[in-house]
């Protein structure tokens, strides 16, 4: 489990519009990499290219290379469905399937993978919910609707759903931006635990969060309004926050942006 991601010279387009330009970076396995940057700088778009979710949006396409260990995600013949089973994703707003129970939400991905047998499913559901620090809160009501949980619990349910299929990489697109501080803390603790098993990439607008949870931080920015977003620098989180090598990074982090 947990693979390295190597991105080289990646451009992302929506139709004719170039959203992100020339990203080259490496994401280390068993670590947390945070993407920070102003809104609209393409960090979420770039995140989506790591499991080909950008293709869901009409006109979405890339140029360049994304390697997952030695597998090129964009080689011809690679099925985006298979990619997404390897690279899981958690979204900004908790999105448990509303018609499903807590149990079925966690089991959804397993069933898609063809896992059968109640005992086996029970085991994985329990393990995943425990892995998402949610088991104790929901073990007595697994058959209740997932939508009845609080926002923070729903987000942890979504994380349980994502890790149930045992992905190599977990992408998180602002997973705490719709949550209160206590739920946020719970998710951040969880991220700290999950990184021992997974490669985690998290997009966040919360600078303290990036500083708290990540090992490495990538700063994205727009060269100018209307220009594509680009990667300004990526480095150890300590370094980015204390002694960044690019002035724009320091300006952004210290709030002197723009």
């Amino acid at each position: 489990m947990a693979k390295r991601i190597d991105v080289s010279d990646l451009n992302v387009y929506y139709g004719a519009f170039k959203a992100v330009e020339g990203v080259t970076m490496t994401v280390e396995p068993r670590s947390v990499t945070a993407f920070i940057g102003p809104s609209g700088c393409g960090k979420s778009t770039f995140l989506r290219t790591l499991n080909r979710m950008h293709e869901v949006i009409p006109g979405g396409r890339v140029e360049g290379k994304v390697m997952l260990d030695d597998q090129d995600l964009y080689a011809s013949g690679v099925d985006p469905v298979a990619v997404r089973r390897t690279v899981g994703m958690v979204f900004q707003r908790p999105n448990p399937f509303p018609t499903m129970s807590i149990y079925d939400n966690v089991a959804a991905g397993l069933k898609l993978n063809g896992l059968k047998g109640k005992k086996k499913l029970d085991d994985v559901v329990e393990k995943s919910l425990k892995g998402a620090n949610l088991w104790n809160e929901v073990k007595d009501r697994l058959n209740k609707p997932g939508a009845g949980l609080s926002g923070g619990q729903q987000q942890r349910l979504c994380i349980a759903r994502a890790i149930a299929v045992e992905p190599q990489v977990l992408l998180m697109d602002e997973p705490c931006s719709a949550l209160d501080p206590i739920s946020t803390l719970a998710i951040e603790d969880l991220i700290g635990e999950l990184k021992s098993k997974y490669t985690i990439v998290i997009v966040t607008h919360n600078m303290q969060q990036a500083a708290r949870v990540s090992d490495r931080t990538a700063f994205f920015n727009l060269a100018a309004t209307g220009k594509p977003g680009q990667l300004v620098e990526v480095d150890d989180t300590q370094r980015i926050f204390n002694n960044p090598s690019v002035k724009a990074t320091e300006d952004y982090i210290s709030g002197r942006f723009g």
Partner: protein, 336 residues
């Protein structure tokens, strides 16, 4: 006052004069416009309930005297003699034909309608989705007499060989056996024509709900590694389920009550015809029996017999809607 700590200007200006600060100014409930609109809405609601009740009462009122004089079992007899001193009539044949033809219609229209709606909302490229949706809507606007004529003149002759083929090959099954009816005026054919008639209803309403599936749910499924069809199964279909049920019930209501298309297509059975459970039998639905005999409503007793049949149809559609409501309510906790 203004010098006392903790008292602000607002405390001294409690809104309009001569009114304690918390008494309402009537903005929420008591202004003329609000009262008018509220009253109108309430009135409309009461009017609908009153209409349904009155229709039911009218049917009951007219039907009861005729039913009281009926000498045959109303729910079990196939006879239909409504005049004279000894009327004998029963609805079992009407009930069978109505229900079975409508069920055939649903069995065809619901899967096909849902499939068309899924194609339009989930598969079709944008340039195709819009015209296709409009075309389906247009189909819903075709008057039922046109479907009847088309079924009778164009589709019927094409369908007959299929029916003959099925009867020849599968006639051993009671539901598909040969009957005295030779042409296309059969329960099966009515069901098929009704299916085409109600298809646009199922499609249009299903399309509306499928299109509203939140992107978050669809992406949630896709991010788990769902294929398009798996995404539809995990996100779109469960989300659209109540809508599809409502659409089906609306369509079923239309199929049950459809009159003119059925009347001009179906072969009525002569008196004393031997009963057959075959789908290739003729027969009449409630609506077509009433329509075919409109000229007979010349005495309260005769009219009462037909109205009694109408009452059963009325109750039938009521039950259908009630069942649909129950099905939707039962899963409500899972649909928010």
């Amino acid at each position: 006052m203004a010098t006392v700590t903790g008292v602000s200007v607002a405390d001294e200006v409690p809104g309009p004069p001569e009114r304690s600060p918390l008494s309402a100014d009537g903005a929420g409930t008591r202004r003329l416009g609000d009262r008018l609109f509220g009253g109108a809405a309430q009135g409309a609601g009461i009017l609908v309930i009153a209409l349904v009740t009155l229709v039911g009462l009218f049917l009951l009122w007219q039907a009861v005297p005729a039913l009281a004089r009926n000498e045959a079992g109303f729910l079990t007899s196939r006879e239909w003699t409504v005049s004279g001193d000894h009327p004998r009539f029963g609805i079992v044949e009407l009930l069978w034909t109505t229900v079975v033809s409508s069920l055939i219609a649903m069995a065809i229209a619901v899967p096909v309608g849902v499939a068309v709606a899924l194609f339009i909302t989930q598969y079709a490229p944008r340039w195709l989705a819009k015209p296709a949706a409009n075309l389906v809507d247009l189909l819903a606007a075709v008057p039922s007499i046109i479907y009847g004529l088309w079924g009778l003149r164009t589709f019927g002759p094409k369908y007959e060989p299929v029916q003959t083929f099925l009867q020849d090959k599968l006639g051993a099954f009671p539901l598909l056996s040969k009957t005295s009816v030779s042409g296309s005026g059969t329960v099966m054919f009515i069901g098929i024509v009704l299916a085409i008639m109600v298809l646009p209803i199922v499609t249009a309403l299903s399309r509306e709900v499928f299109a509203q599936t939140p992107v978050a749910h669809k992406e949630g499924a896709l991010a788990l590694g769902a294929t398009r069809w798996e995404m539809i199964r995990t996100a779109v279909l469960p989300f659209g389920r109540p809508g599809v049920i409502s659409a089906s019930m609306l369509a079923l209501g239309r199929a049950l009550g459809e009159t003119i298309a059925v009347t001009i297509i179906v072969s009525t059975l002569a008196d004393q015809t031997v009963w057959s459970w075959s789908l290739f039998n003729g027969g009449e639905t409630f609506a077509s029996r009433i329509a075919n005999n409109a000229q007979e409503f010349d005495s309260p007793q005769k009219a009462g017999a037909f109205i009694a049949a109408g009452l059963v149809l009325f109750i039938l559609t009521f039950i259908v809607n009630a069942v649909a409501r129950i099905v939707i309510e039962r899963r409500k906790a899972f649909s928010e």
